[in-house]
Amino acid sequence: MKPAAVSLVDLGFSYPGESGVCFSHLSLDIQAGERFGLFGPNGAGKTTLMNCMTGLLPDYTGSVKLAGLEVRNNKNVRSLFGLVPQDFSFYQELSPAENLAFFGAWSGLTRQQVKKKTTDLLEVLGLTDVRNKPVMQFSGGMKRRVNLAIAVLHEPQVLFLDEPTVGVDVQTRHAIITYLKWLNGQGTTLIYTSHQLQEAEDLCDTVALIDNGRIIAHERLAQLLSEHREEGLEGLFLNLTGKSYRDADV
């Protein structure tokens, strides 16, 4: 049987020096080829959970496996996934081509592979004309596309997307979502989190709602909407998590 793309078993995590527990005994399977959406209010633990899944927070208890391999401090896992963080994760002083050359090498690609993939990706994402210009001169939408290009350069099995379209115009959003669907069609598992619930409805086929460190729902999106008699993800979200503010303790 093919292992799940990502498998969490009895996951527990708390930030050092903080009294509260982010998760305890959290279990979740994300199947290969899914377009999985992870949603929850502010502070619910979406980014923390994603950081555990990508090994950025290795001090968890329980198990996090990616394609059957334990994630914690395991360099072999790192070439299997790509990450599109919420913040721009590249060197603003460099051009898209220079960024891709560097991150491609660090992803384990050869020089020839980097060269070919760079040309293809910049073409697909509409960045060919600006391939040699410093990214710091780009608009927010162009920077989002560079952020995405770097994450998919090494053709990962699993792609983590943390609010990949925040602050972009309709055209860029459409282009990114279309590209992500195409990528999924090629076999890449998408693990996506965002507050753009309409966009999520368009992209995701399976969703999980997380609140206070617990998974409160995990189903195929259509089934979940039908079970809760909601027409859209936003209604479902408010139904399951309530309408009160979730301000962080300050």
Partner: protein, 426 residues
């Protein structure tokens, strides 16, 4: 190897596009080297070629007072401006505040009579020892009225000391001459012949300065020879501003998050930074030494004489650069913000330079600081360079300075690895 190559290219591209960082690393130390050398050189010329303006207020109407002034003039260090003996201290100070002169000397009215009394007493006592006179001359000498020396507060202590020394030697000369005259008169009942008096004053031995060097070259080191190595080390360690903040910037911006998720160790990034910035420090060295050797003479400053052991110079520069880069990386790894890296980096370099003997000569430091000095890597860098530039040594002569420098560098590297490990970066 491809990963390292790609990382070095990335670092070089970012470095060459950081105009402020490049200015701090190259232009600032060059300007410092030129300015400090020019200032020190002009101080040297002020003392040696020009003369210090000296106000002389002679309240004494006797011969010894005039002789003292002549002796001061003969020292050759001063440009005398005689003022009338009736000037009050307030008037003298007013002239000095107007920068008429930086130093003023006031000869007391009793100077001639006191000098004569002292000379006669000493001569009589000396002759009595030989049984040539019945007078024992044992009358106690009363304390003479002091010679007053006014100085402007801008004068540094070392400069005041040399002025004091020059005045004391003039005073000594007048007193000695008076004693000889008294002795001569007591024995011969005649005045000292003019020719003999001239011989006493003029036929003094000449002092030849000989710089001790390992290669037998006895040329006296100039201000360039002292300054260029010191400011080159300063420049090397000032890469902390660019390198330290580049590491912090990388940690704080999103690129670091991505690096942590890629199948490559962050040690590759650190190795790349070490190699890239090591090249930067070597280029700094080459540029500053070239300016000292070829541009300084065109600016009227003394030229830098490069040591005979150029290979040794390269190795010393390489090790100094490695230490500077290691220190900068360590600051970058531990600093939480760019402000911390820049602030602590810059201040710590100035402190290490001060305790390391770059700002104040190590021989002039208090004993307690001499232990502290040995902990400054800049001290060992400077000692190694001075071994080559001032002492005319070869690399083998600098080994005892290079060993502690390498030990300090390795300790800094270990501290950096500990910091990376603690922060889950390796």
């Amino acid at each position: 190897m491809y990963k390292l190559r790609a990382t070095i290219i990335k670092d070089l591209l970012i470095l060459t596009r950081d105009k402020v960082g490049l200015t701090l690393m190259f232009v600032m130390p060059i300007v410092l080297a030129i300015v400090i050398t020019a200032i020190q050189n002009s101080t040297f010329e002020l003392v040696n070629d020009n003369k210090v303006p000296l106000l002389v207020c002679n309240k004494d109407t006797g011969q010894a007072g005039r002789q003292l002034i002549a002796a001061i003039e003969n020292v050759g260090m001063f440009q005398l401006k005689q003022i009338t003996g009736d000037q009050t201290p307030a008037q003298i100070m007013a002239r000095m505040n107007a920068k008429d002169a930086l130093v003023a000397v006031v000869v007391p009215a009793s100077f001639s009579s006191e000098t004569l009394t002292k000379a006669t007493t000493i001569a009589t006592r000396a002759l009595n020892e030989f049984g040539l006179t019945a007078d024992s001359g044992r009358n106690a000498l009363s304390a003479p009225a002091p010679i007053l020396l006014y100085y402007h507060p801008v004068l540094q202590a070392s400069f005041r000391s040399s002025i004091n020394g020059a005045l004391l030697s003039a005073l000594q000369l007048v007193q000695s001459k008076q004693i000889v005259k008294s002795l001569y008169y007591s024995i011969n009942q005649k005045d000292l012949p003019a020719g003999l008096e001239k011989d006493i004053i003029q036929n003094n031995p000449v002092i030849h300065e000989i710089a001790v060097s390992r290669d037998g070259n006895r040329s006296i080191p100039n201000s360039t020879q002292h300054n260029i190595p010191a400011w080159t080390i300063f420049a090397m360690f000032f890469v902390v501003i660019s390198l330290g903040s580049s590491i912090v910037r990388e940690k704080l911006n999103g690129s670091f998050v991505r690096l942590k998720t890629l199948p490559t160790s962050y040690l590759v990034a650190l190795l790349s930074k070490q190699l890239t910035y090591l090249v930067v420090t070597l280029v700094q060295t080459a540029v500053i030494f070239s300016i000292g050797a070829w541009l300084f003479p065109l600016m009227g400053l003394p030229a830098l004489n490069l040591p005979s052991d150029i290979t040794g110079l390269f190795i010393v520069s390489l090790i100094c650069g490695w230490c500077a880069v290691s220190y900068s990386i360590c600051i970058g790894v531990f600093a939480q913000t760019q402000e911390q890296a820049n602030g602590f980096g810059a201040v710590s370099i100035v402190l290490l330079a001060a305790i390391g003997g770059l700002l104040v000569p190590s021989f002039a430091m208090p004993a307690s600081f001499k232990y502290l000095m040995k902990m400054s890597p800049l001290h060992w860098c400077l000692e190694a360079y001075y071994g080559l530039f001032l002492e005319g040594g070869t690399f083998s002569d600098t080994v005892m300075n290079i060993i502690p420098l390498v030990v300090i560098t390795v300790l800094i590297q270990l501290l950096t690895l500990y910091g990376l490990k603690r922060k889950n970066l390796i």
